[in-house]
Symmetry: none
Subunit: 418 residues, 2 copies
């Protein structure tokens, strides 16, 4: 029903990009402080604005922020983080399966957590996961367990009468010195009672298996915290989402390293472009990512590229690292600019949420956003920053509104009414 | 329940007014390029903003955009275009009736569409419609058929067990060289199967009748495409809407030529002001329209005036015509300005949606909007354009928000809460 040819669009999601002014940066934000001539030129020639991931004043996780930027309404489509991570690590979820996020973590002799992420373990997690995968629980319930990025993993239970309405065993960010929590049902159904019991059973058996695992013996020898326990959170059952092809009749390409984003991309029917050199961390290979953007752009109508390092740096409160990482993104973006800044391609830069280096957490601050294209109306804003984009021609919109606007420019939206 | 006297308000809906920058206009939009001293002065002295017809990034039709500007929430109140058009041409719809938009169109000897609008036929459509009106279909279902503006017409079926869930026979914009589509049910009910069969029966019989009609014989002699077939779309059943009197306890006047707007105006309980010199096209008599605004203002509390030409020009990609038409509106508005720019009257100018001369289609771009009144807070914006109003004091609001704001200024809204 579209009256014109499809153009193409690229959306860069710079994770946790938005921030607050810092004394140490002369009351500038990391984005204001960083050298970003490429992004500034796009902001100058295009239109800018500020974007609320979900709604004003609402803090969101990367999953919810990205779900919105991938074209879904999170309040309708969000099914918990577990299923997203499960898709992200390549699991096949069926109706009735329950998926949970898991961390490899470290407990001491008294069973108290000493490291929530087992020292952000990066090596040997595949072997550890294999040792847990395929475990049989009571009533014939089957376990699938797979490792993700760094310390992250996914636990899936398959069997009859399972429920996602169970609590987390993860006691929460910064909670060390306490034992993992017992999983309890969060409603009064027999299924939730039973499922929480099954997860507790898994967690106990997992400790037995991990304790003597060669990977952990080696870690102890090297003075590293052993990954001798699992903590879980975000139980959910899969929701079937319309794919980007079904919703907008376009091909989508997702360039990402982190399993959350790959999971959302898969759920949304995007073709996935990834590479082991992209780590989802500060040491990621941004150049490879940018080259994958070019490849994805040649094979799709809409390309979404996610870059994680900014968020990681901010969670550590490392504003220098965040600033430098932003400058690196800008430089690498400059390398492919000539190939993407052409008629018929629309470029947007935004974020899934803000992460404050001061708070060391996601905040509800709206994220700086720009949109560039050959018939996009240039506004008065000259650079790409939180402060400048707040004066932009897009004004203040939601993340869902942003992706719909980009889709409208590429000619992929449907008209409501006649 | 109102604590103050009613003031009066005028809303001008300039159809498809919003646009994008064009190279040919020195990267200005048609509205920026056009000479509009009158609208600029209202923007200067009043407050401006940008308005999303429905929500950010959502393309809408004139029907949906106007429904919102007439005070309704389209997602709740939209019943398909057919019933709106039926009200527009003066049909009386009853419960269970199904109404469809129809075009007079031209098919060749092989039954393929050659002109979707029979060359935008304007004369003789009443006689052609009369020849189809009153036709009896199977099972005693009665046909009402009435002509609208230009090539437009309305088909109504009255009988038992009818369903609006049927497809369009119109193959779509720019689709010529193909036969009209067979109408099929869009759900699995017997009523939808039966109704689609009845419409197909009507379309077949209509061709027989139109083929030999004197109006068409004359058109062929004159070298014009004969209106020898009907194509249909937008089947719907009437929804009963609260009138403007019921909702806001005010009298509404609607100045319009096009049957869609007249239909919405009637559904909304507005008094209709129209005149044959207003064509709903580029050759419309804007001066007559402005004089009807004065008349309507003396007899009502809220006047909505719709002007179509801008949208028509943009659909043709004719940015010169759009620019000139905007300048004409400005000039004619200037002629009545002294009589409406008075204390107690609030003036707003907005649009039902944007129509890009480049895309030649509606886009989701927000529409430039101004609001003038003696106690409206003047902002810094000095002129009326997409770019300038994006910096205005109203910020970015929805069409529904705009009309409620205007109603609030005239003192007609209710307070929620005590």
């Amino acid at each position: 029903m579209r009256a014109r040819e499809i153009n193409k669009g690229i959306l860069f999601i710079i994770d946790g990009l938005g921030d607050r002014p810092l004394n140490e940066l002369n009351d500038k934000t990391p984005l204001e402080f960083a050298e970003t001539p490429v992004m500034d030129s796009l902001a100058d020639e295009g239109v800018t604005g500020i974007v609320d991931p979900l709604s004003v004043g609402m803090r969101v996780g990367t999953d919810v922020g990205c779900l919105a930027l991938f074209g879904y309404e999170p309040l309708k489509s969000y099914s918990g983080r577990g299923p997203i991570e499960a898709y992200g690590v390549g699991m096949e979820l069926g109706v009735g399966d329950v998926a949970l996020r898991a961390n490899f973590s470290t407990v001491n002799g008294e069973g108290k957590l000493t490291h929530r992420r087992a020292g952000r373990i990066r090596e040997g997690t595949d072997e550890l996961a294999s040792a847990l995968d395929g475990m049989e629980l009571s009533d014939g319930v089957e376990v699938s367990f797979r490792s993700g990025t760094d310390h992250r993993a996914v636990l899936m239970l398959r069997g009859r009468n399972l429920s996602p309405n169970i609590s987390d065993s993860d006691p929460g960010v910064n909670m060390v010195g306490v034992p993992p929590k017992e999983v309890i049902p969060t409603d009064r159904t027999d299924n939730a009672v039973r499922t929480s019991g099954l997860v507790n059973e898994f967690l106990l058996k997992a400790r037995d298996i991990l304790k003597g695992h060669p990977v952990n013996k080696k870690r102890i020898e090297e003075g590293l915290p052993p990954a001798n326990a699992i903590i879980t959170r975000g139980a959910g059952i899969p929701k079937v989402l319309d794919t980007v092809m079904e919703k907008f009749n376009i091909r989508g390409g997702c360039v990402a390293a982190e399993s959350t984003i790959i999971g959302i991309g898969k759920m949304a029917g995007f073709n996935i472009y990834t590479d082991p050199s992209m780590t989802g961390n500060l040491d990621t290979d941004i150049s490879t990512k940018m080259n994958l953007v070019l490849k994805a752009l040649s094979e799709n109508d809409l390309v979404i590229c996610h870059i994680k390092g900014t968020d990681i740096a901010a969670h550590y409160g490392d504003y220098r690292a965040k600033t430098e990482f932003i400058a690196r993104i800008d430089k690498e973006l400059g390398e492919i600019l000539r190939e993407i800044k052409v008629e018929g391609v629309y470029i947007s830069i935004s974020a899934d949420h803000s992460t404050s280096c001061l708070v060391r957490e996601h905040t509800a601050d709206p994220v700086p956003t720009l949109l560039w294209g050959y018939d996009v109306m240039r506004d008065d804003t000259k650079s790409y920053s939180e402060r400048e984009t707040a004066k932009g021609g897009l004004n203040r919109i939601s993340a869902n509104g942003l992706i719909l606007t980009l889709l409208d420019y590429i000619g992929a939206t449907h008209r409501f009414g006649d």
